[in-house]
Symmetry: C2
Subunit: 258 residues, 2 copies
C-alpha cells in the first residue's frame, strides 16, 4: 500500500459480512488506504471483552475487492489489538473506524457496545478512533442518507485528530425519520435499559431466559445524544477510557472514616 494516503483500519461488531461494514469500507476508500480486521461472527453486546483464556484465529478474506481484509475469531477489541500489533505491525493506522453498527449505541449502550469497544481500543492504543452506529435495527436498513456524514466526520478527524484519550461515538437517525438537520456534539444521555427477563421452557421442559427490555430516557436535557437523534441530528459524543469519577475522590476522602 502507498504511504502517501492515510491508513484506515476498519472493524465492527456485527461481523465482517455485515452490510454496515461494507458501507463503511466504501466510504473510507474515498479517504485513504483501507485494511479491514473484523470478527468472523456477530459480536453485538460484547462490551469491551477480550479473549484471554482461548486462542484466536485469523483468516485473510477476499470479499472487499482490492481492500485487504482479515476475519478474526475474537471480539471487536481483539480485532483492533491484533490489527495494531500483528496485521499492521509495520505501519501505524492514521485512523480506526468501527461500524457502521446496525442499531443505536447512544447513552448507556456505549458500555455494552462491541462497535464502541473497537473504537475505544483504538483510542487506548493511541490512535484517533470513531464508532459509527445507525439507529435502525431493520434487516434492510438504508445507509445512503448518512454516507456523506460518515466521510465528513472521518475527514475532520484525519485532519485535526482528537483530544488525547478520547474517541468518538457517532449515531445517525434512520432514514425514515426524514432529512438530517446537522451534527450535534453532545454528552451521553442519562437513559437506561429497563430490563425484563422473558421466561420460557425448552422442548425438554427445562427453564431458560431471554434478556429483553425497553430503553427509558429520563434525561430532560437537549445537549445529549438521545435528544439529538430524536430531533433529527447526528450525535457525536467524545468518550474517554478514564472511568475515574474524579469529582468523587475528595468526597470519599472527606466522608469516609476508614
Amino acid at each position: 500500500m502507498s504511504a502517501d494516503r492515510p491508513l484506515i483500519l476498519v472493524s465492527n461488531d456485527d461481523g465482517i459480512t455485515s452490510t454496515g461494514i461494507r458501507v463503511l469500507v466504501e466510504c473510507m476508500k474515498t479517504l485513504g488506504e483501507v485494511v479491514v480486521v473484523a470478527p468472523d461472527s456477530p459480536q453485538s453486546g460484547m462490551g469491551h471483552a477480550i479473549t484471554i483464556g482461548d486462542t484466536l484465529r485469523v483468516h485473510e478474506e477476499n470479499i472487499f475487492g482490492d481492500v485487504k481484509a482479515y476475519s478474526c475469531s475474537g471480539t471487536p477489541a481483539d480485532c483492533v489489538k491484533l490489527a495494531k500489533h500483528h496485521v499492521l505491525a509495520d505501519r501505524k493506522p492514521d485512523l480506526v473506524v468501527s461500524g457502521i453498527n446496525h442499531g443505536a449505541n447512544t447513552s448507556i449502550s456505549v458500555l455494552y457496545s462491541g462497535t464502541m469497544s473497537a473504537a475505544i481500543e483504538g483510542c487506548i492504543e493511541g490512535l484517533p478512533a470513531i464508532g459509527f452506529s445507525l439507529c435502525d435495527y431493520g434487516a434492510h436498513a438504508s445507509f445512503d442518507h448518512i454516507e456523506g456524514y460518515v466521510k465528513k466526520i472521518a475527514s475532520q478527524v484525519l485532519k485535526t485528530g482528537l483530544p488525547k484519550g478520547t474517541a468518538l461515538n457517532v449515531n445517525f437517525p434512520k432514514k425514515s425519520d426524514g432529512d438530517i438537520k446537522g451534527i450535534k456534539v453532545c454528552r451521553q444521555a442519562h437513559a437506561f435499559w429497563q430490563e425484563k427477563f422473558d421466561e420460557r421452557y425448552d422442548p425438554m421442559g427445562r427453564r431458560y431466559f431471554w434478556l429483553a427490555g425497553d430503553f427509558v430516557n429520563h434525561d430532560k436535557g437537549e445537549d445529549n445524544d438521545v435528544w439529538a437523534i430524536d430531533n433529527g441530528y447526528v450525535s457525536v459524543v467524545p468518550v474517554q477510557y478514564d472511568m475515574t469519577a474524579h469529582h468523587a475522590i475528595a468526597l470519599l476522602n472527606d466522608e469516609w472514616d476508614i
Copy 2:
C-alpha cells in the same frame, strides 16, 4: 430472609466455584443477608458484555451452606441484571459486591474486567456497588490479609452509600508484599497493556494466536491505583458509567468545521 439486615448481592467473574467468591461470601455474611448470583464458568476479560443473541440458564446451587446461590450461564453483567429483575425482584439489594477477583483490576483493566462490569451494572441499576480484586494471580493466593479491609469498605458503603452514578474499584496488594499500610482513594492510573501476539501452529498445521503482553505504567503520579498497590496500600477508585469526555465537547465545537 429477614428484612432487618441489609441484603447483599454477591457476584464475580471467576465463576461461582472460585475461592475469591467464597471468601467474599464469608465476609458479607458478617454484614447482612447474602444472595449469590454468579457465572457458572470463568468469565475473565468479558468486559461489560451482555447476552443478547442467546438464552440464559439459571440453576440454584447448594455450595455456600445456608446462603442462597444461583449459577448463571451468562456474563457478570447478565448475573447482576438477572439478580435485580428476576431472582431478587421482590426485594432490592442494599449492596452489590463482586469478586474477590483472582488478579489485578487496576488502571485500564477496569474496562476489560468482568469483576468490575458486575459492579458497574449494579451502579447502573441504581445500587451501591463495589468490585474487589486481589493483585495475586497465584492458584493458591492467600486472602486472609484482606478480609478485614473487605468488611470495612463494604460496611462504610452500607452506612454512607456512594455518590450517584459511581461504583468502587478496590484492589488489594498480595500477601507476600508485606503488611498493608492503609487505604488510598485514588484515580485510575495512565497505564496500559503492551500487547504481543504469540503465534503458534496447531497439530493440523493451522496457525493460531494467544494474546499476551506486559503491563506498562507511564504514570508518574502518586495519586493513582497502580502507585497505591506498588506501595502497599489498598486502592479505591470511584468509577462512573458516564464515559463522556465532557472537557472535549467545547473543544470539538470550537475546532470542527462541519
